[in-house]
Symmetry: C2
Subunit: 133 residues, 2 copies
């Protein structure tokens, strides 16, 4: 049984974030010492690491919570996990597409600036009346 500080170090989840996850019911409440300090077992740490990995993949907290709930053993969890991951994958790809079009527009505006010797093409673009194509 280790302290919250050690659990933070071993899981890669910040102390304040651990307490946040506890408040939000994402991970179960840990045991406490007589004086009220939280103590964490290895499986508590594993759960925290699990949530961190989910978050690194960009999975929202409810998704992470759902996946964590599947880790109670059964192999029937696979289709469920796959569904969650697939939905998230689509979100990720949609976001990438958004960013891609932002990137193109920015690159174009910046490039125009280099050829420019009159008005600023960036400001012109942003000020123009027409809606973008």
């Amino acid at each position: 049984m280790i302290s919250i500080g050690q659990a933070a170090e071993r899981s890669g989840v910040a102390i304040e974030t651990i307490r946040y996850y506890e408040r939000e019911g994402i991970v179960p409440k840990p045991d406490r010492t007589a004086s009220g300090r939280r103590t964490y077992s290895e499986s508590d740490v594993a759960r925290l690491r699990f949530v961190r990995r989910c978050r690194e993949l960009g999975l929202p907290i409810p998704g992470a919570k759902s996946l964590l709930g599947l880790t109670d053993g059964s192999q029937k969890s696979c289709p469920t996990a796959q569904t969650i991951a697939s939905k998230h994958l689509k979100n990720v790809q949609d976001k990438m597409a958004d960013l891609k079009s932002m990137e193109s527009a920015l690159i174009e505006m910046i490039r125009l600036c280099d050829d420019n010797d009159d008005e600023c093409p960036i400001l012109n673009h942003l000020q123009s009346e027409r809606e973008e194509s």
Copy 2:
């Protein structure tokens, strides 16, 4: 001089968002009618549209505010605008790189699921002890 509803429609910025921009000092306070209703000129609408375009490019509000501040005429604004845009472009590209690696990891996990007939590879991956490469 038009109402906030019409300004919203013509600028593409939601009414509540317009009021928010005003509170935050992103756009100047518009005139009011005798009864206290906001009235917007064409240039007010142009400013709102400008901020919307910035936001569509993912520019944070302070950046949008800076760019809007440059639209007071001078062509010397170009290098400044280019700097703001370039910094933002880098942020966009960093975010895309993050999403790209999330995407790869998700695709791999989902693919493994299809070949799977034992434990769920997604949960295995998220639960594993080792740090990812």
